[in-house]
Symmetry: C2
């Protein structure tokens, strides 16, 4: 009657949840499947470059908007600012190709910093990237929604709803299913967008050359020097730098390329950089040429496409593809942050479970983590994340600076032929990107950059505290040498006290006591009565049964069961010897149907949870499964 049945099935409610998970996420992948999840160049370009390429949807607008405040147009500054941005782009590209070469294991600035500069710089880079990736997701998704709202103003009130649906309903799910599937789905939008933009540029230039476009007042093209305007120009430059976010994605993702990883990554980076530069320059030129100004709820790219194509299907093609590539750009962060979190977790700076791959071989916990943080940003800014755009350049350039400083140290340490040239290249890169960080911090300080100054030290503090905890834990958990060398386990000596809290005389109690008696001869049944009637009744029934186990009955005048139990444990500890130990055996019955559980108070569950957390006793549950 008390023995275990052999054909007990794994519970129904778990299966339902499992089925739902399987349907949404897909079946679990075998460890061996990880080898197949590698990307060819053309696919990698689509996945890794969407962040950088999509930024032409807002980058040129952000530059021009800064230099065209109402009643004042300083187009003369647009060309120098744009050129500066392009130069910086070239420099960063070349530097990052070197980073990818020296770090085929991926990990980007965090790994480079850790290897060459030490803990703190690497943690700064990690914190900067963490901020950057979260902002990338928030900004890209809300910009993507802006693109489609420009075309369909009826969607304006649903902005945040659309953002969150894309975030959780599409990006998170696709990424939880695994990267290969996502890459195939994402190739067409990227190439479709590139195609569309080049067709837009071609048609726009044709219009411009054939003179069908409005003429800009030539006075606005002059670049009169003025400190206030210089500050505006620097702000425009800061804004434009946001277009460079995403360059590092490829170097962080080298291990995801097909072999040879480094060479493929290098070629892909150059391709991306040339595409980005061309599109940025072309769009900026046309925006100026058609004298476009910033408008609410209509992006400048939408104005340009409408001006060039009219509201025909080509216009809608541009808007839809812009939306898609921006959502894809958000996806880039999903390829970047979870592996970084995994590295941080493996080094003990983030919770360990971020290091593990889930059912589908992706870092599931990291993916959920990123989605939640980004959702908070979107909700917090109500979907209007424009003024976050320049901020997220801070994170990127900070990590650029650290990565390239690290490379200088790296080349010097290696000391192979030509190391000085390479070190110089990265040194110049580090200095310039460092200056860019300062420029953005100064020009954007009041617009939110101060938040970054707070957030990075805070994150580093958290990293260190977590690291400290894991170190403490390791020290406490390591098996002492004497036990290791004794070649035996330290078997418990002393008396084994077994306490069985009982709720009366019933089959579950008998079952548990039968188990208890097998463990130890020192078994006490403890009954806590909440009123006098029950106190007398249970004692009476126990005496009638008289099972050879002592019943300790306690009246609890405050109707709590836990406190008397804890007091009793304390008493046992008082009278016992140092080598003695205590087990609390909790009789629990498990109901057959899930809703039956709602009909019983969860005393057993609460009891075992609190005892495990707070008392130095072993806690055993002897479940008794009801048949109906």
């Amino acid at each position: 009657m008390f023995r275990y049945s052999r054909n007990f099935q794994f519970g129904g409610q778990v299966n339902l949840f499992q089925m739902l998970k399987r349907f949404i996420i897909g079946k679990p992948l075998h460890n061996q499947d990880i080898v197949r999840e590698k990307l060819p160049k053309w696919k990698a370009l689509a996945i890794f470059s969407s962040d950088a390429l999509s930024s032409v949807a807002y980058g040129p607008e952000m530059v021009i908007a800064m230099l065209t405040v109402p009643g004042f147009v300083a187009y003369g500054y647009v060309a120098p600012v744009s050129l500066a941005i392009l130069l910086l782009l070239g420099l960063v590209t070349i530097s990052y190709v070197q980073v990818a070469k020296a770090n085929p294991g991926g990990g980007g600035s965090y790994s480079v910093g850790k290897k060459n500069l030490g803990e703190i710089p690497s943690l700064i880079a990690a914190a900067a990237l963490l901020i950057d990736y979260s902002l990338t997701v928030a900004v890209s998704i809300s910009s993507g929604t802006d693109a489609i709202i420009s075309a369909l103003p009826v969607l304006i009130p649903h902005r945040v709803g659309i953002d969150l649906f894309v975030l959780f309903g599409i990006l998170m799910l696709i990424n939880l299913r695994g990267i290969r599937e996502s890459s195939t789905a994402f190739v067409f939008p990227t190439y479709g967008f590139i195609l569309g933009i080049f067709f837009l540029l071609g048609t726009g230039l044709y219009h411009a050359l054939t003179g069908a476009a409005p003429v800009i007042p030539s006075s606005s093209l002059e670049a009169h020097f003025n400190w206030a305007v210089l500050f505006l120009a620097l702000k425009a430059f800061s804004n434009g730098c946001s277009s460079m976010t995403g360059i590092e994605a490829i170097s962080n993702g080298v291990p995801m390329f097909k072999e040879p990883g480094y060479r493929n990554a290098q070629v892909t980076t150059y391709c991306m950089s040339v595409l980005l530069g061309t599109m940025f320059l072309g769009i900026t030129f046309l925006n100026m040429h058609f004298h476009l100004l910033q408008q609410e709820n209509v992006t400048m790219l939408s104005q340009l496409a409408e001006g060039v194509f009219g509201r025909g299907w080509l216009y809608y093609y541009i808007q839809v593809l812009t939306m898609l590539i921006l959502y894809l750009a958000a996806n880039t962060a999903y390829n970047g942050l979870p592996p970084l979190l995994s590295l941080l977790a493996r080094d003990g700076y983030m919770p360990r479970y971020l290091a593990a791959r889930g059912d589908r071989l992706v870092f599931s916990n990291g993916i959920v983590f990123l989605s939640v943080i980004s959702a908070l940003l979107i909700i917090g800014y109500n979907g209007n994340t424009e003024h976050l755009i320049s901020l997220y350049a801070v994170g990127v350039f900070l990590s650029f600076t650290i990565a390239q400083s690290g490379m200088v140290v790296h080349w010097r340490r290696e000391g192979t032929a030509g190391w000085k040239g390479r070190a110089l290249l990265n040194g110049v890169g580090a200095s310039i990107t460092g200056i860019v960080v300062l420029v953005i911090m100064v020009t954007k300080f009041t617009a939110g950059a101060w938040l970054i100054l707070l957030a990075i030290p805070l994150q580093i503090y958290i990293f260190k505290r977590i690291h400290c905890h894991y170190q403490d834990m390791r020290e406490q958990l390591v098996l002492p040498q004497e036990i290791l060398e004794s070649h035996q386990v330290p078997v418990r000596q002393g008396k084994h006290w077994v306490i069985v809290p009982v709720a009366g005389v019933n089959r579950v109690v008998a079952n548990t006591l039968g188990y208890a008696k097998r463990l130890s001869p020192h078994v006490v049944a403890l009954y806590v009565a909440t009123d006098d009637v029950a106190y007398e009744k249970v004692q009476g029934r126990w005496e009638r049964w008289n099972p050879g186990v002592e019943l300790k009955a306690i009246k609890s005048n405050y109707r709590t069961i836990l406190k008397p139990l804890l007091q009793y444990i304390d008493e046992i500890e008082q009278i016992s010897q140092p080598e003695d130990f205590i087990t609390v055996l909790i009789p629990e019955f498990e109901t057959k149907k899930w809703w039956h559980r709602l009909l019983h108070n969860q005393t057993g569950f609460i009891l075992r949870t609190l005892l495990i957390m707070n008392k130095r006793v072993a806690v055993t549950v002897v479940p008794y499964h009801l048949e109906k």
Copy 2:
């Protein structure tokens, strides 16, 4: 090193929660304190009558509104309808005094029905009361908020927010603290309201008699017969019956009166009934006399008070007191429903934990239950619960009918002198209240009464299912006679298999194995590796330690730990004898600070929960408490 420390303190996080709870709810009360929690008549009147008395804030309005549709005024019907309501009030009062006499234990129609009519009628009464009490809370709170909104229209947009604050922030908390405190706080509003209304009636009558008021067209006072108008009149009567809800509160609450409970309850009931009748009649007369019509966001009582007093402090006094007594009326349900739920729970028709008194000797779970249901009603109807008012009369009159039918049976069974007179009185009461139920059901069917026709059978079905489960459980849990008479516990025979899932070689594992070896010689350590490197490494370390416990290492290619463990348990069950049994020993370390817990995956917790729920094995946690 592995022994238990004796001075381990009860965990910090629990204390914080406890402190907060103590601050809000108060310190736990001793079982003996229950005797002190009895009410004198004048306090009981304040607590129990607020439901009935407060209904004059909406009852007369509901009657007149039905008979004054735009362009049509049938004041001639008001007098007969009002008189019918008053007659019914008298009848119900006398009947309920008899109920209180025959059932000094309280419990009202449910108890009466159970004792005299059987299970189903008593459950119908219980279901009706459950609906009624929840509606009372929702309707009274939103009417109270209407009263204050009439005076301060600026609050209109915050209607639902105010409702929910009053519900959770005031009523629920006050009731969780205990009835005695609530009674003292609640005496002044009731008497203040009675005083205010009588002053309003006096002043209003003076104005009316001195002719300072508008004259009603005499044609509207004629009562021409017409089927459509009769239907309206019946609807008006249905609406007016809502004023009678609350009469039963006193008879349900007899045990809360000071001794002699029955006599005190009787006197209090008569007082309440006379007050209610007078106020109802007076307000109805003045509403008609001043020819008031229903308006949105201004109650008719507010119009009356403004007409009589002007917008002076007397007007605000009336509005504030009306608000307070209506909130108090909601409180009546808190005195009525939790004890009813407790009775139902003790009889096994509702979850058992609703039967227990909490820290403060009140039925805490029932109080929370009622608050949640009412909040759902308020939110569902967006605070506009006017059309629920007549519905909640259905529940009351249904339970009136059952209680009085029960009384007829009761008097007949007793057969003492004069039983026929008493039975006749209750029989007439039952017939008339039964007819009222039919009238309300018919006239209000499309306005929501059909919901009640659905809800009552559904609730009875739930009651029966719950009852059935508890009966099944009792049968399964009862200690078999042979074990009871054996005077011993059925000690487990056979081999004791102990499985210890380990995550590597460390101190926690050694600690748990030391415990395991004490339990049984048949100990197996089970290691589930999620990758090849870990698989080799842990096996290597185990061989070096070689502690005399077999390590069973399993590769889990899908990175799940639970499935291989469950498979291994199945294997053990295959090779074991029927009398053998299995214990799974889970090594767990407990962190020192609460936030450390976030840094570890909860594998141990998930493992033990799933094993307890799904497998016929004993599950033991041997916690290892980290020191820092």
